[in-house]
Amino acid sequence: MSVLTGKRSWLRTALASPAIGRLGVIAAGLLIWEGLARTVLDPEFVSPPTRILQALVTRTLADPTVLRAIGTTFWELLLAFALAVLAGTAVGVLVGAGERISRTAYPLVLMLYAVPQVTVLPLFVMFFGLGPASKVAFGFTHGIFPIMVNVIAGMRDVSPLFLRSARSMGASRMQVLRHVVLPHLVPSFFAGMRLSVAMTLLGVILAELYASIDGVGYFAHLYSESFDPAPLYALIVVLALMAVLLNELARRAELRFTWRRR
């Protein structure tokens, strides 16, 4: 309390800032990890952060086959995500457009969303083979749901007053969609998109881990089978960076398209 103690010290001010605090938590976590990994933890399962960094530079980023695998995974992810956004929005708008169709289909969508898709992963590999197609397909079916669910939910809570007002002025269905419904959807659409990034990545990696001949998942599988944790963790770092990158892209797009509320 500055009233009681007078001026705050610079240290207090720094600790009170959320960004500094966050960095502090991360640094403390890494330190504890480093300490534990060097002393009590089994080096066949856990590598200290310093060794992971070393592996990232000397093995992951220096190895052309691994780099190609990262590229493969990135393209699978990007393609699956793009398809999920397009199809999810289209299906969401169509399902959300009518009272009857939305009441019929929305529970089905929610039910399918709740089913753990891993159970049918072998089917995907059977249908689409060991190559990238099965990964894109599995990423797609993961990524489409958050978009669909958010778009349908958004369509269902468009203000009836706006719809009535637009109708009284003679707006056509397309005009209502363009000027009333779509702008209203923007916030929930982007919320869905950011969830979708994480889900798509999950789908792609799951499919790669299950059965693949390429991609980050293939190498992750390889490293863990051979009790070589440092490059495994390095791959996880790379995946995290991919997710952050896509999430940031979604956030930028959101800032650009969101109308200012207050």
Partner: protein, 314 residues
Amino acid sequence: MPTQRTAVSSQLAEVADPWPAHGGEPETAILCVEELRKNALSNSRDASRAGDAAIGIRGVSKSFGDDGDDGRLPALQAIDLEIRRNEFVCLLGPSGCGKSTLLNIIGGLLKPSTGEVFVNGRRVVGPLPRDIAFVFQEDTLLPWYTIAQNMHVALEFQGVPREERPERVRAALEAVGMSEFARYYPHQLSVGMKQRIAMSRGLSLQTDIVLMDEPFAALDEQTRMVLGEDLSGLLEQTHKTIVFVTHSLAEAVFLSDRIFVFTARPARLKSIVTVDEPHPRRPDFMTSDKFNGLRNRLYGLLREEIREAVRQNV
């Protein structure tokens, strides 16, 4: 009152076709209805029924819910009335009596259970954006558009050619003295200013008729008085027929040429009160004996109805 309600619902249940075709032409009726729905307006004129009135309402009843349903709620009962051209009319009644329902039926946003509505001599079967503009109670400005864009979109909805829109938007904003706020977003304006914009948007649509559903209900009394004066002044310039729903007695007297007083639910027309005072009306009208006399008369007419409405809502 449950007994009354059952009686009304059985009476309404007997009506086989709740949306009968235009009377007198049975052989073309079915064809017509389809045709009319497309055009939103009947082309057949029926002078004997509609007269020179801007709006004619013939035996309009409305119930919500399905036939024979216990929850069926009669809102309007056998309403007959006529609204003349360039007239300012208030629909006055206790809250929840069905005034807004009647307004939505006039505007073609709701279908009556029985009866018909004529606008400019033609039967209403859907929204009439060329003839009727709406101003709603809550602000219906789209929050993602600026004030000018909102006006622009309204004109686009109405089908006004693109090249005419900027000038119309400019003129409409100027008429209410809001030009400087053209580039503001709705959330940057006060409730009163937003409602003033909504009002000017309604007037800018260049329809003969403007239907206003308690446009001042969300405003404080002072803002309400100022906007009321503005409206009275705007009317003088625009020559429109206005139907205004309110439950404020003072607002009704101050603005109206005629006041239609309704009973508690289900609404029936109880009385018509004429206010013989030229527009634009000045604030000193509000302190005159004539004003207070009319206001008291309205209160006398409404007293039991308000009590009935309060009882219904317990």
